[in-house]
Amino acid sequence: MSIWEYANPKRFMQTSGALLPWVSIAAVILTVAGLVWGFFFTPDDYRQGSTVKIIYLHVPSAMMAINIWIMMLVTSIIWLVRRHHVSALAAKAAAPIGLTMTLIALVTGAFWGQPMWGTWWAWDPRLTAFLILFLFYLGYIALWEAIESPDGAADLTSILCIVGSVFALLSRYAVLFWNQGLHQGASLSMDKREHVADVFWLPLLVSIAGFVLGFVALMLLRTRTEIRSRRLRALEARERMS
C-alpha cells in the first residue's frame, strides 16, 4: 500500500482516529514530565540563576515554530503536485499551532532577555528572522480566512508558503550581514553538546519530545476538524442547490 493512501480522507479519518488518543496521552506525559523535571528538579545555572528554567519552554517552542513552517512547506508542495486534499488541510490545521509556538518563543525569549541582555528585545539577526516568521504565519492564516473557495484558498496559500519559505530563509541568512547578534548559537548540536550541561540537557530533550508529540496530536485533531468542516460546507452547498 502506498503512503498516498493516507491522503484519502476516509482512510485518514480512520487511522488518525485510532492514533489520536495514544499520541495525545504520550504528548501530555512527556510534556508534563519534561516541564516538571525542568522546573522543579534541576539546579540553577551558576551564571543565569533560575532563568535557565525558561529553556524548557523557549527552545522546544522555537524549534517547533520553524519545523512547523517546514512541514507546511512540504504539505503545500504535495498539494500543488498531487492535489491531495488532506495535505492542504493539514497545512491549514498546522498554521495556528505554529503561530502559537512562535508567540511562546517570542514571549519566553523576551522574558529571558530582560535579565540576561538587559533588554526585552534587540534587533539581533535570529530574533529578527523569527519576527518575520511570525508575520508570515499571520499572513498565511489571514489568506486562508479571506478566500471563500476552499480549493482556491489551498492553491494560493500553498504558493504563498513556498515563496514565503524562500524569504524566510533569506531573511534568516540575510540578517547575518546586517549586524552582530546577541543570541545563542546552536548549542544543541552534537559536537557542541558540552555547551549545555547534562542536568539541563536531559529534561530539555524530554520536553522537546513532548512538544513534538503535542504538535502531532494537535495537528491530527485539527486536521480532522478541517476535514469535517470541509464536508459540512459541501453538504450545505449541496442542500442549497436542491
Binding site: 484519502n8 480522507p9 476516509k10 482512510r11 479519518m13 486534499h85 471563500e148 473557495s149 476552499p150 480549493d151 476535514i227 470541509r230 464536508r231 460546507r233 459541501a234 453538504l235 452547498a237 449541496r238 442547490m241 436542491s242
Partner: protein, 218 residues
C-alpha cells in the same frame, strides 16, 4: 457535424462552481459553421460551462478538446477601460491578438461614429456593442458568448445576428448562452436542465474527495 474536423468537442464534461458540481455529462462537438445555443434556468451553470470551455477553470471530469487558442470568450463583463476611447480599447485587443486593423470591427458593430468617444461616455448598449466588436478583432474561430445581447436594442440584436452569421459563413463556430431569441435560424439548441449534477446520494459524482470514501466526504 460530419466529415468536417471538430473545432471544439466536449466529452462527458462535469463542471463545479465554488466546490459544488453543477453540471455533469455534457458532450457535444462543433465543427466549422456550427452554432449551439445553451439554454437553462438561472443558476443551472451556463456561465460555469463557458468558463470551463474558455480554459479559465478546470473541469471536474471529462475533457474539453480544441485547437489551442481557438476560443474567443465574452463574459457578462465587457473588459472595457472607461478612460480609453472606443478605438483605443479595440486597438489594444487587436495588438494583443496580433491582428491587423480595427476598421472592419468598428464598421461591423456600427461604432465608426463613436470611435473617438471615451468608453465611460457610452450608453450601456453601445458598451455592449464595443464588447462584441472585440470578438471581431480576436480573429479566433470559436466564439463562446455569455448572454451577448443583454441591454441591446432590437436593431443591435439584428446587427449581432448578422455578425454571427458572417462568422459562421467564414468557417467559424459559436456556442452562445442566452435567455432570449437571437433570430438565428439553423442553430442547434442544448437545454442544460437534464445535465444538472445530482447529489452523491442520488447516484451523482462526488467532488474533490473521490473514490470509495466519496459518500463520506462528498
Amino acid at each position: 457535424m460530419t466529415g468536417k474536423p471538430d473545432l471544439l468537442s466536449l466529452n462527458a464534461l462535469a463542471v463545479a462552481r465554488g466546490g459544488v458540481p453543477v453540471l455533469e455529462g455534457v458532450s457535444f462537438n462543433l465543427s466549422a459553421g456550427d452554432l449551439l445555443i445553451l439554454r437553462g434556468p438561472n443558476g443551472i451553470g451556463k456561465t460555469t460551462l463557458l468558463r470551463t470551455i474558455a480554459g479559465l477553470q478546470a473541469p471536474l471530469a471529462g475533457r474539453v478538446s480544441c485547437v489551442p487558442e481557438a476560443i474567443a470568450y465574452a463574459a457578462h463583463a465587457d473588459g472595457l477601460k472607461s478612460t480609453l476611447t472606443v478605438a483605443e480599447n479595440l486597438r489594444f485587443w487587436a495588438a494583443i491578438h496580433g491582428t491587423a486593423g480595427i476598421d472592419a470591427a468598428l464598421e461591423g458593430m456600427n461604432l465608426t461614429a463613436l470611435a473617438g468617444r471615451m468608453a465611460a461616455n457610452l450608453s450601456a448598449g453601445q458598451k455592449r456593442r464595443l464588447g462584441l466588436a472585440r470578438l471581431l478583432v480576436t480573429g479566433r474561430p470559436v466564439w463562446a458568448l455569455d448572454e451577448p445581447t443583454v441591454s441591446l436594442d432590437r436593431a443591435s440584436v439584428a446587427l449581432f445576428g448578422r455578425a454571427v452569421a458572417a462568422h459562421l459563413a467564414q468557417g467559424g463556430a459559436a456556442v452562445i448562452a442566452t435567455h432570449v431569441d437571437l433570430g438565428l435560424d439553423d442553430a442547434q439548441v442544448l437545454d442544460l436542465a437534464p445535465f444538472r449534477a445530482f447529489s452523491p446520494a442520488e447516484g451523482g459524482r462526488s467532488t474533490a474527495f473521490e473514490g470509495d470514501f466519496g459518500g463520506a466526504f462528498l
